[in-house]
């Protein structure tokens, strides 16, 4: 099996990657992260093994770009006054804007982990690969993030 033409790879993965980046980096950063993700993917593309999981591969790159974006922006809080435009149709019910605002407040690595798991649909092992940590650490990270989110939701009236 050979690698598909890059255009097809881009067409197949652009929507999941974009959705992931909105979740992991925010609507305002998503576009820049998307450019950087696919340009980096294009550079590396000829050396990718044809039998690798291209979806996990590109989400891995996107996850790193999302974390880079957080680092570049520093730890200053997101401007609360710019909620993203509501999506026309969400795949399985309306997006929970409040919940995602809480996700946006998580530390970068936890936020990215949540997005990789639930929006990117990656396994714990794939998340570990993307974030250069052990599978246990990925699980722990996710568990902590979810605990925090559940707690924060109870606190908000």
């Amino acid at each position: 099996m050979a690698l598909p033409p890059f255009q097809r790879f881009l067409d197949e993965h652009r929507e999941p990657v974009y959705r992931f980046l909105v979740a992991a980096a925010g609507a305002q950063e998503a576009d820049d992260c998307f450019q950087e993700t696919f340009i980096a993917a294009l550079r590396a593309y000829p050396k990718v093994r044809a039998d690798s999981n291209l979806r996990a591969w590109v989400l891995t790159i996107a996850g790193r770009k999302a974390i880079d974006a957080h680092r570049a922006r520093g730890r200053r809080p997101l401007p609360a006054a710019s909620p993203p435009e509501p999506a026309a149709v969400a795949p399985a019910g309306p997006a929970d804007t409040e919940l995602w605002a809480l996700v946006a407040g998580l530390p970068p690595k936890q936020r990215t982990t949540v997005a990789l798991r639930f929006v990117g649909d990656l396994s714990h092992a794939e998340i570990a690969g993307a974030l250069n940590c052990s599978e246990d650490a990925a699980r722990r990270n996710l568990h902590e993030a979810l605990t925090k989110l559940r707690k924060l939701r109870k606190e908000t009236p």
């Binding site: 974009y18 959705r19 979740a23 979810l146």
Partner: protein, 206 residues
């Protein structure tokens, strides 16, 4: 009535509409071209003979094929044999598009775009196709003629096969090769297309 938080997260965030992803992907192609990261730039072109798939490498035109529902197969072949960095970049095909438009209008008799013959096997096949490029507009040769010109006068049938493998239709004018005696011979794009091209070039005096 509370939906679990994991299910809510699976629905994704707001603001991820497909149009934004499509626009962002188009920008990727433009930027990749500016950065010189596209090894094979392709576009689909309209023509009187139906849609064509055209592809250029850094060296020149590497593929011009009748689409005929084969677009994906053509792109896969390019990904395998040239480079997987294949992206749609219509602006890169503008010079060819202009020359072809002039050709269809009868205003151009010779193509000037650079050619990249890497998809033709070196040796005999390439010699045959090179011989075909030397047949002028409005004239024709025979399978025997190009075989002779390629230095293999007895390889008439093989010459036909080599011409049939032409990766650059129209611009490498394999349609200008006929049977000895004037029979049309074969054509990968179908004989109707061969007849159309010969008619456009007034080759058979009609």
């Amino acid at each position: 009535m509370t939906t679990d938080i994991e299910d809510l997260l699976r629905r994704g965030p707001a603001g991820d509409d497909p149009a934004a992803a499509r626009d962002a992907a188009a920008t990727v192609a433009t930027r990749a071209d500016e950065m010189g990261l596209i090894d094979v730039a392709y576009a689909e072109l309209d023509s009187p003979l139906g849609a064509l798939v055209a592809a250029v490498s850094a060296k020149g035109l590497v593929r011009l094929a009748y689409e005929n529902g084969r677009r994906d197969a053509v792109l896969e072949d390019l990904a395998t044999r040239v480079s997987p960095r294949v992206l749609e970049a219509p602006a890169r095909l503008d010079p060819l598009r202009r020359e072809l438009d002039e050709y269809w209008d009868g205003r151009r008799k010779r193509f000037d775009v650079a050619l990249d013959l890497r998809l033709t096997r070196p040796g005999f096949t390439r010699r045959i196709l090179t011989a075909a490029t030397q047949i002028p507009f409005g004239e024709y040769s025979t399978y025997l003629g190009v075989a002779e010109r390629a230095g293999s006068p007895r390889a008439v049938r093989a010459a036909g096969n080599a011409l049939g493998s032409n990766p650059i239709a129209i611009v490498v004018p394999c349609h200008r090769v006929l049977r000895t005696g004037g029979g049309l011979g074969g054509y990968t794009g179908g004989l109707q297309r061969k007849e159309f091209l010969l008619g456009l070039e007034h080759t058979l005096g009609s």
